[in-house]
């Protein structure tokens, strides 16, 4: 066989990792003790040794990796697709059939990882061999490629034909079983490396990633600040438990998951919020989630509005307005930063302003100094101060207020499946 001397320089890291893992599986399968049982397969009149059936492969995979049949079928299908296992009966179709059809392991010489990249010369020799061996054995697309190659490497065509003839002569001296095996192996290899146009090309790895790993040793990342706390990751468990009932994929959502039931006509009525409720949201879920954290309340448009209404009653709405204005600066257009800062200063920070916010003196000083050279983050400290003020003071009171409780009660009432819960609850 032609020896490919091209270097593996352009090999993709990603590909090699996958191939190495697949090769590990293959090697494990061929392990004399723990591997698969192989037997001789009859193919018409010849007997091919060391073959196995699709069913055997699947059973072995299920046993080794404790997976379900569908997954085992999938994995073995991948092994065939990538050419590590080839079928004996229908060599053109690289598909795994979970029945008694025979398969064989591809020789490592032909493994995709060892022979990449397959050269044109090799392909030309292969096609020439096929052509010589049996006229008309080439498929349409192979005939086209053959003629294209003939034109392209015409200067070495004599070499190609000579090589093809030599290889055919050498193979004639082999036993029939070996000959069939070698033909199948070669065919499988070329089916993968030169797939039929329109067929799935498993070697297509997408865009190449130029890896420009620099030699810089970033000492910054070596600054080690180890927190020597015995690590107990309880926060994740708590968070998940709190939100589990509100996770539509896990618990289903009320009244139904719209993707399953195709139901968008469900209009939710929640007092004055009827126009604002998007069709997919269950008000009970939403309103309950507002009580989980301040961030939930603020991130939700309705929550923010409701909170604003409450604050207006308490005469502390300027806090939320200030916070919103600061957010606007942080995430808004660069060109309008100066004017927005001016406005905020006029409305919220000037002593005696209509909506004066209560910021401590140190933060106020810092902010006022910063305003002289306004930039995107000039209001950050003040914004943080007000945010935590709202979080520690107004937010807990809001959750205890009648306004919120009524909202929650209404949401429960309007939710059909919750009615039985309501009847069971005692009025608070």
């Amino acid at each position: 066989m032609t020896i490919n001397t091209l270097a593996r320089g352009g090999w993709d890291r990603e590909q090699m990792a996958c191939f190495q893992k697949m090769e590990k599986v293959i090697v494990a399968m061929q392990d004399p003790d723990m591997g698969m049982k192989m037997r001789n397969q009859r193919l018409l009149i010849t007997v091919i040794p060391h073959a196995m059936t699709g069913r055997d492969m699947i059973t072995w995979l299920i046993q080794k990796y404790c997976i379900c049949e569908e997954e085992a079928l999938h994995i073995s299908g991948m092994l065939v697709r990538y050419g590590y296992v080839y079928p004996l009966k229908e060599p053109r179709s690289l598909v795994l059939r979970p029945d008694e059809s025979p398969y064989r392991f591809q020789t490592p010489y032909f493994w995709t990882s060892t022979r990449w990249p397959a050269s044109e010369l090799d392909y030309a020799i292969y096609l020439a061999k096929k052509n010589i061996r049996k006229q008309g054995e080439l498929m349409e697309y192979e005939k086209e490629r053959y003629s294209v190659l003939h034109k392209r490497i015409n200067h070495t065509w004599d070499f190609v034909v000579m090589q093809a003839r030599e290889q055919l002569r050498a193979s004639k001296q082999r036993r029939k079983a070996d000959r069939i095996v070698l033909e199948c192996q070669e065919q499988a290899y070329w089916l993968i490396n030169r797939p039929q146009p329109g067929a799935h090309n498993v070697l297509d790895m997408g865009l190449e990633r130029p890896n420009n790993l620099s030699a810089r040793v970033t000492l910054v990342s070596d600054i080690i600040t180890f927190l020597y706390v015995s690590y107990v990751p309880v926060p994740f468990v708590k968070y998940s438990e709190q939100y589990q009932n509100h996770d539509p994929i896990m618990q289903g959502c009320l009244p139904s998951n719209p993707w399953i039931s195709d139901d968008t006509a469900y209009t939710r009525v929640l007092g004055h919020l009827v126009l604002l409720v998007p069709a997919f949201a269950a008000p009970v879920d939403l309103v309950e989630r507002w009580s989980f954290s301040f961030m939930e309340l603020l991130n939700d448009i309705m929550g923010r509005r409701e909170f604003m209404i409450y604050l207006e009653k308490e005469f502390s709405a300027e806090n939320l307005c200030f916070w919103q204005a600061c957010e606007d600066i942080r995430h808004g257009e660069s060109s309008r930063i100066v004017e927005k800062v001016e406005e905020i200063y006029k409305n919220f920070l000037t002593p005696g302003a209509a909506r004066w916010v209560n910021v401590d003196s140190k933060t106020m000083d810092k902010t006022l100094k910063g305003i002289r050279h306004p930039h995107r983050f000039v209001m950050d400290d003040a914004q943080m101060h007000i945010y935590f003020l709202m979080k520690k003071d107004s937010y807990p009171r809001y959750l205890k207020s009648d306004l919120y409780k009524n909202l929650l009660a209404k949401a429960i009432m309007n939710c059909p499946t919750c009615l039985f819960v309501l009847s069971a609850c005692s009025p608070s």
Partner: protein, 408 residues
């Protein structure tokens, strides 16, 4: 190397070698390292009664400024391993141990509810709109399509002048989409209700990189975009003026993905790259505040845990890993021997209990985040899954694949 002096702490006045405990705490075990304890923190967030010690690395006056870089590197490596050994003696509790008391998850029946067909080539990226039903997706042939996923109708289609549009994002207002790829730029297209209007005419070019654009995302408003690129940097842009607001340097190779933190202050984001590192950045200062390097191959996707305290990453080494930001370490690995192909994309369910991973072997694996086990495996795509996002209300997730389709 002058760097060493500057970066290794200004702890000139600290105590000499040997254990030095500040008053009022239990004395720590003597550490035979070149570190010495500087502070003693209160056990604020951790629910463990054990000692909390912060060991900050500092160089004594013995390190000469002209020591070679390699010497310092080997020194820091040995110190790191020694610290790890010490840390291992402290009986950290792993996530799955804590989660043992949590109920296991039952069988999930997840099926494809919608299939969106229409792309003529590999689907590379997708994003949900905040209205929970619209999706924007981009593909290799340069087409960017906005769908109403519920009805599977196409609402808008734009053809970009470049191929391999690897990044697309929906604006929070739902009025614009951003996309980019091999053209090294990020372009914002405002969406109009008039279907006949030529969207390409109103295109605005926002970001300019020196290599392909791998990911983009709007921050909390329509006015700012965060991008990551194959040139190894991330950048924050002002949409209106196209001005660069902040750039983030630190990755040694292509940056492949990014995600914004859902935190209260909204100031950080995480990025993952071909240098196997996941970096957490401060958007204000442009500094890398945390870095994690435990993956064995390129990191294709990063996503924050819903609470913002952790993030998950998916990589070509066929594993997904969970990193805790406060503890500054990896806390879980999601892998299985039978999973051979790399992860292209990850996302959490709403509660953070489930982690969905799209793999290059055409499947989707669903992991139990707390217990570390796989809940289920989903088939259906006929080529690799390139992108995966959970909808904003958590009712479904969408996957895009190289088989030209998207599935919900």
């Amino acid at each position: 190397m002058n760097n060493s002096q500057v970066e290794w702490g200004a702890a000139e006045d600290a105590a000499p070698y040997g254990a030095a405990a500040s008053p009022g705490c239990r004395s720590p075990p003597p550490l035979l390292l070149l570190f010495f304890l500087l502070l003693h923190l209160k056990t604020g967030g951790a629910s463990s009664p054990c000692d909390v010690m912060t060991a900050a690395s500092a160089v004594s006056s013995e390190v000469q400024p002209n020591e070679t870089l390699t010497h310092l590197k080997t020194e820091s490596d040995t110190l790191k391993t020694k610290l790890e050994e010490e840390r291992a003696k402290l009986h950290d509790v792993e996530l799955h141990q804590v989660a043992e008391k949590v109920d296991g998850l039952g069988q999930f029946i997840m099926k494809t509810r919608r299939t969106l067909k229409g792309h003529g080539n590999k689907v590379l990226c997708m994003d949900w709109c905040k209205d929970k039903r619209r999706i924007v997706s981009s593909s290799q042939d340069g087409k960017v399509i906005v769908w109403d996923a519920f009805t599977t109708n196409k609402e808008h289609a734009v053809t970009m002048p470049c191929t391999w549009v690897m990044a697309c994002a929906y604006a929070p207002s739902g009025c614009a989409v951003a996309c980019g790829g091999l053209d090294n730029k990020c372009s914002v297209y405002p969406l109009s209700l008039d279907k006949n209007e030529n969207l390409a005419a109103k295109k605005k070019s926002v970001a300019m990189h020196t290599n392909y654009l791998s990911a983009c995302s709007f921050t909390n408003s329509d006015m700012q975009i965060l991008t990551s690129s194959g040139d190894g940097t991330c950048a924050l842009w002002d949409v209106e003026s196209g001005q660069l607001l902040q750039s983030f340097h630190g990755h040694a190779a292509d940056v492949l993905c990014l995600d914004l933190a859902p935190s209260e202050t909204g100031n950080t984001f995480v990025s993952g790259g071909c240098d196997k590192k996941a970096n957490v950045w401060d958007m204000r200062s442009g500094q890398c505040i945390q870095s994690f390097e435990t993956h064995e191959s390129d990191i294709n996707s990063v996503r924050y845990y819903p609470s913002g305290d952790a993030f998950a990453s998916g990589s070509d080494d066929a594993t997904c890993r969970l990193y805790d930001l406060r503890a500054d370490r990896e806390v879980a690995i999601y892998s299985k021997e039978s999973i051979i192909f790399g992860v292209s994309s990850v996302d959490f369910s709403l509660s953070g209990r489930l982690l969905f991973g799209g793999y290059n072997d055409y499947t989707i694996n669903v992991w139990d985040v707390l217990k570390g086990t796989r809940v289920s495996i989903l088939f259906g795509h006929e080529n690799r899954v390139s992108t995966l996002r959970v909808s904003p209300d958590g009712t479904a997730f969408c996957t895009g694949s190289w088989d030209h389709t998207l599935r919900v």
